[in-house]
């Protein structure tokens, strides 16, 4: 299991853990407005991995979300700190 980001305002927190099936869970107060856009970003960056992906959004802009997803993905693939 790896994680990236923080729970601070304007940020996003991303968790990736190995799983038998692919699962994407998005939690956001702005789900109604941005839920689909957030899912699209996650999908475009992680579609090739079979894992459980949890994203908690705290009002992150798209580039912030991308940075956090990339960070989590690279850790998941074994890149060292």
């Amino acid at each position: 299991m790896v994680e990236a980001g923080t729970h601070e305002k304007g940020d996003a927190w991303v968790l990736i853990e190995p799983s038998e099936r692919r699962e994407v869970i998005v939690k956001s107060k702005l789900e109604r407005l941005y839920g689909n856009a957030i899912r699209e970003t996650i999908e475009s960056m992680t579609s090739n991995i079979k894992a459980k992906i949890v994203v908690e959004d705290y009002g992150a802009l798209d580039w912030v979300l991308r940075a956090r997803v990339e960070s989590a993905l690279r850790k998941y693939r074994g890149e060292q700190q």
Partner: protein
């Protein structure tokens, strides 16, 4: 002329603080990967900074990143992420010319890989060894300015920073090292962000010590420092006359510049141009 009167430090792993940096109009913005980022966030921070450099509007501010010092395992990974998008690499605790050469070699490797222009370096002198070698360090071709910090230095001497008389000597040495190589000299931060009068006096003092700018920790400090570095009306008027006389001499094909019967030599003209740059008039 590029001004570096203010350089605002912004924690690199805090997107909320990074988002609006371009609005502050600092001459330089430093996304920090060093002191403001805890060890367990270094990985996330350098990726965040890579994205910020590409997506945040920096306005007219120069894009800097303060990487981790070369005695940590982080500096080369920091470079890998930021070099394609940064303008100036701010390097803490630099102690020798050789160290900068090693850094420069790594930067060159990444620049070649990404097909980007050579990036500039601003080393921060923070130790006695660094201070002793400051004049050599300033000679490095990538160095555009010299900065300094007093915490480690006073800790090495075992004296409290607030009472350290030696820091006046350190300031002078940084100015001499930088200016003797035609580089800028940048003073350290004024850490009391609520003391506006104190900051104004501090920045004025830095200016007359020979510094070209100071570090800032809060956006509210920017305008005060810019005001402190602004020349007074008489300085601006005199400078304008000198520059006009030089332009006139050039148009008339004269090799000698004269103003009110006095010859103006090159350093005087250069100083006049600098005053006008600081006055924000060309």
């Amino acid at each position: 002329m590029k001004l570096r009167r203010t350089r605002l430090y912004v924690p690199g792993n805090n997107p909320h603080l990074v988002e609006n940096v371009g609005l502050y109009e600092a001459d330089c913005l430093i996304l920090d990967l060093e002191d403001s980022v805890p060890i367990d966030q270094k990985f996330d921070a350098r990726i965040m900074v890579k994205y910020a450099l590409q997506h945040v509007d920096f306005g007219a501010s120069e894009k800097w990143v303060r990487i981790n010092s070369m005695d940590t395992p982080f500096w080369s990974k920091d470079l890998e992420e930021v070099i394609p998008y940064v303008q100036v690499v701010n390097v803490p605790k630099v102690e020798s010319y050789e160290e900068l050469d090693k850094l420069s070699e790594k930067m060159h490797e990444i620049e070649e890989k990404h097909g980007v222009e050579p990036r500039k370096i601003v080393p921060i002198i923070e130790t006695l060894r660094g201070l002793v070698n400051a004049r050599e360090i300033a000679k490095h071709e990538r160095v555009v300015a010299m900065a300094w910090g007093g915490e480690d230095l006073t800790a090495e001497l075992g004296i409290p920073k607030s009472k350290a008389l030696i820091l006046e000597h350190v300031r002078a040495e940084i100015v001499i090292a930088a200016k003797s190589q035609g580089k800028m000299a940048l003073d350290t931060v004024y850490s009391n962000i609520r003391d506006e009068e104190g900051l104004f006096e501090y920045a004025k003092r830095a200016k007359y010590m020979g510094f070209d700018g100071v570090g800032v920790l809060h956006p509210n400090q920017i305008e005060i420092v810019h005001k402190a570095f602004k020349p007074d009306d008489k300085e601006i008027e005199d400078a304008r006359k000198i520059v006009e006389a030089a332009e006139k001499a050039m148009q008339e094909g004269k090799g000698v510049i004269a103003l009110n019967g006095r010859m103006i030599d090159k350093p005087v003209l250069e100083r006049a141009k600098k005053i006008l740059a600081f006055a924000e008039v060309d």
